[in-house]
Symmetry: C3
């Protein structure tokens, strides 16, 4: 067998090749490469930190089975989820030999060439696990051995990696009905990692959520307030926000299909809520209620200071038979064209000028960046733009974002980077890629004399650290 | 105190850094840098030229208070318009100490890093006012002194700057009801500057304009034709177009929210007009009448030869409370997704093949450039594409425009550059930036052997000068 | 007269200029430049190959009169189609002096600077006809002489060029009612060129097609199945697909205005069909029936294995008076904003997970690439993305496509290149341009250490050859 190919990750990787610019990019990157990580929006399970001895399992458990970024691509090429060990709800047996799963992954690793997933994975393999060779059909099992051996070590427990990754703050995403017991356990353990919850009320706000009535009962239970009518429901939500704040939360998170905002009369809101409790709400009721509740959540944010995050526009579970068999988050959420200018007007006219309110906007429709989002953020004091979301969290996606947004909104109306991931071990790679994008973007402005090096250093620092901390009130 | 940082504007600034390409870019730029400025679309007040002793006031009067490009950005970061001296309609007292306004501006000048406003301002400060240092909190007052001293000199009167800026033609934008008395005064003064009006009938065409009935009365008055019924209204508009033509106008300008075009029956048009006169028109009436009047304006243009400009898609005065307190043009106009293919079909089927008709199209939805506008301009003889408008009048915006439009429409179906500004002193900086974009774009085509240098020189000249002059019939 | 300027086409043309990257691009390009051409989607008339002595006529017959890419641009600048010899349906006399037509073309050849048409034409002139000088007003007649002389030679017959162009497979596009007699003639002739039909049923599926009733009668006739009711119609279509398959077809092609898909009840489909047969179908009937038939065609593809191509979103014949006088394909088809996520859901939920089904998606709305098409292709096993279509088959269009699609969908969920042309002699130039785009794109990834050279070579080969062959089942 030929010598396996080297996994080559030079320090100046990804930067544009023109030597004068590349030299500046590297210089700027070195200014931010070792800054602590601010992770203000993500999906790591808090129990990962609550249990000091938590283990990630096998290499397949870590890299493949829970990561829809990875398995959607394999699925697109005809590999069934069962072959990858993804658990089926209907009891279909799935592959349990993790080495076989890993081999399929390695056999198809070429699919990730030039993709952000591929760039993150290579970085994780090299930087976190010390892998020296490219993952291929031939190297698959040897690399599995190496990772498996590392994962057995105490240095690869989540808390140890938190230190090694130099994370300063990491937030989770928690339903409004969560009792936050894992967060409490982290606090009680005396461990100094800063893990904070985020208030995500989608399941109780979208009245068309499967099981919504049960969610409301649960809301009553955890809040101690009867949420069975609209007034109680609002009070219960306010109670939960306070509970989240007490556990350190600084933000809320909202993922409706549409960013429509409305301000319904108390009567209409009550009537829709009552219909929903009786299981009689129409799709139009659901849309109007969601739009109204976005405005209500903005009101609460203006009052309690929690930063409001809004990321609409993903049509969830597009593949219905896959959803029926495997549930949500199977790589089948597909973006929709999204309209912000008219849809946000009601909310912004009520709270957009309010100095106590912050609204961080995300999109999976990148056409809105230059057309709607940057003009809105370049005007309304409440608005900051979140980093490029999901499919756009990539080299080209982030580069296009900087070019589409910065001229109109200014870097300083953006909210820095966030990794938005459930793949904990990928966090440093994701931040590193973002810092490289920004170093490269700013180096181009410097070499073209648009800004000078002094400005660029400040901007790089802001993009990598300051802006996220400030926008999310994490001081 | 440390030596203040230099404001550094090298001759080869902004060009891409690859040395072979940059050399060609500089060579091309030098071919156009000193060509006279054709300014066929803008918003400078004609009284600036009517009064030979017109003074711009203080540095804050010149750079901040009237310029929504500047103050929207400061507003987005929580600075109130009152702090910037922007006059409020409701009598709220506003800052009158212009040095204090200037200091706030300087303290936040970092917001403009990498923005077109920042690039124009730096160029104006250096090239027009001879400023040598970056504007910062520390240098603010000294730079104020320098500008104030310059503004007191006769060389900084508008007419003197017109010569210095090497402007060949500058058009203003004037309501249909204007008597053009300032233009008449300019002519009467014997000054040789070529300042021409542009016919902008929005206020009399959009029947939902506040005060529309008064505007129609005013139209009757200035035209000497009773515009109280639809037939008279049409004749009055034709009369005003003739009056504008006599004062040198070569173009009209139309800014509806939507580019929808319709051709209503005479009966329907009359009926809507009559309802509007009685204050009974519906929003749908207003939309249909605007759409119809675009077609009517195209008919008139085909007859009288005035070039028709259409720039739809901005939702004006998005921030209602700000509008109530400060009026329009407060930096709160937000773009909308815009559809041209179906919307323009009625107008184009009537006049798009007419050799006497020119329609210059603008957009604030850049997705339409490659999808709709370039294919339309690459087919219909009447259509030329205006330069990237508003938020897209920027390095990246213009570069993306060239890349999105040129392959399908050809450079030769574009209408050259226009500065579209009320900030008179920024005009040379805006044209310079556009000429640099084009030199850079063409140099890339040359170095890649897509075109040769001979072609590139002709194209650079066309983009900087010939195309605007020809499209707007300014020979 | 000065020496005419050289037509300069260096081997390393079009690549980005940075020397390290350019060197890699050239190396990658050399790996694919001489691979055989796979042409799985195009519009060359099969009779070109059925007649071994077919001649292209004059230079104007070859380059101008049949090519709407060329004459639309001249038309946009006020040249009438009659001046270009384009035949009018209404009997208007048109120019018959082909040297005069050629002179007009040469006089306006500057319009094509920087356009893909210009790049293809230059390549054709140099590589196919050995022209040494730029086409200008001055060189027009001499170049005409040279081309005319070449076209008279046997080496410039279509079959000879097929060998010279190194075409491996070329497919035509044929109506469902075609008897494929020219394909039969090619087979019968014993010539070894691989010319295959593609099943394009638009005229019998879109019930609002002019003459639809006649097309259905013709369908009955060629299929031998009475297509007068819905059940027979479906059987007749299935019969035609089998007939196409027997003649070597591997794919179908569908060009509705909208990509909407529906699954109507048998009753509704029958009822609409019956109304259409009586000439009583409404526009809504037509839209619903087209949407339903897309789903039906997917069902048939899942059964018979023909690859389904879908390219919606062009509003055909936008210029109605031109259409009335000259017919379709006059350069007046204009793209529409297109929605895929919701529109394709019905079809994909039925067949998107089916391993026997392939759906190749095209668009003329490039905003959908990153927002909808790449996410869909990065999930559904059935979907592959076609190359950038029509106006986007250009240097910038293809480059933007790679950047918008590859990170989310992977190169390996694309269907390679196709030339989509009726301009047979332009085929090598079109493939060459695409191969250069990909070499340039991949060289950028290599020089930035995103991928290594080994990966890049495989990816270049896939993009130039393997992916098209595999997606279209042309093994």
């Amino acid at each position: 067998m030929a010598q396996p190919a080297t996994l080559n990750l030079p320090e100046d990787r990804y930067f544009d090749p023109e030597p004068a610019q590349k030299k500046i990019a590297l210089e700027l990157y070195r200014q931010t490469a070792n800054l602590p990580l601010i992770c203000p929006h993500g999906h790591v399970d808090p129990r990962v930190f609550a249990d000091p001895d938590y283990s990630f399992g096998s290499p397949a458990d870590l890299f493949i089975i829970p990561d829809h970024y990875v398995f959607r691509m394999l699925y697109s090429q005809g590999i069934r989820l069962e072959q990858l060990g993804v658990p089926a709800k209907d009891g279909t047996p799935v592959e349990t030999d993790h080495r076989r799963i890993w081999q399929i992954f390695a056999d198809h690793y070429y699919l990730f060439r030039g993709t952000p997933t591929g760039m993150w994975l290579n970085d994780e393999l090299a930087a976190v696990f010390g892998i020296k060779h490219k993952l291929t059909s031939e190297t698959a099992q040897a690399i599995y051995d190496e990772i498996e051996e590392k994962l057995a070590q105490p240095a690869f427990r989540p808390r140890a990696l938190y230190e090694r990754f130099n994370i300063e703050t990491l937030t989770t995403t928690d339903p409004a009905t969560s009792t936050l017991e894992h967060h409490q356990a982290i606090r009680d353990s005396g461990w100094k990692g800063r893990i904070l919850p985020t208030f995500r009320p989608d399941a109780v706000v979208h009245i068309d959520t499967p099981g919504w009535i049960d969610h409301i009962d649960r809301l009553s239970e955890v809040s101690g307030i009867d949420a069975g009518d609209y007034a109680g429901y609002i009070r219960a939500l306010e109670q939960r926000r306070q509970a989240f704040k007490r556990m350190g939360a600084t933000a809320t998170d909202h993922g409706p299909t549409s960013p429509q905002t409305l301000h319904l009369s108390q009567n209409e809101a009550q009537a829709i809520f009552a219909r929903a409790r009786r299981g009689e709400a129409t799709p139009e009721d659901a849309a109007r209620f969601t739009a109204h509740m976005l405005t209500e959540m903005a009101r609460m944010s203006a009052e309690d200071g929690l930063v409001m995050q809004l990321h609409p526009g993903a049509l969830r579970n597009h593949n219905e038979s896959l959803y029926a068999r495997f549930g949500p988050d199977m790589g089948a959420d597909i973006p929709l064209a999204t309209e912000y200018t008219r849809n946000l007007q009601t909310l912004l006219n009520l709270f957009g000028n309010n100095p106590d309110f912050t609204l961080i906007l995300f999109t999976v429709d990148e056409t809105t960046f230059s057309r709607e989002l940057a003009p809105l953020a370049g005007h309304y004091p409440a608005i900051k733009l979140g980093p490029p979301w999901w499919f756009f969290d990539s080299w080209n996606g982030m580069t296009r974002y900087r070019q589409a947004v910065s001229e109109t909104a200014s870097l300083y109306n953006t909210a820095g980077f966030n990794d938005d991931t459930r793949a904990y071990v990928s966090i440093p790679a994701r931040h590193d890629l973002a810092r490289r994008v920004d170093a490269n973007w700013l180096a181009n402005l410097v070499v073209r004399s648009v800004i000078d090096m002094e400005d660029a250093v400040e901007m790089a620092h802001a993009a990598a650290y300051d802006l996220a901390k400030k926008a999310y009130k994490l001081d």
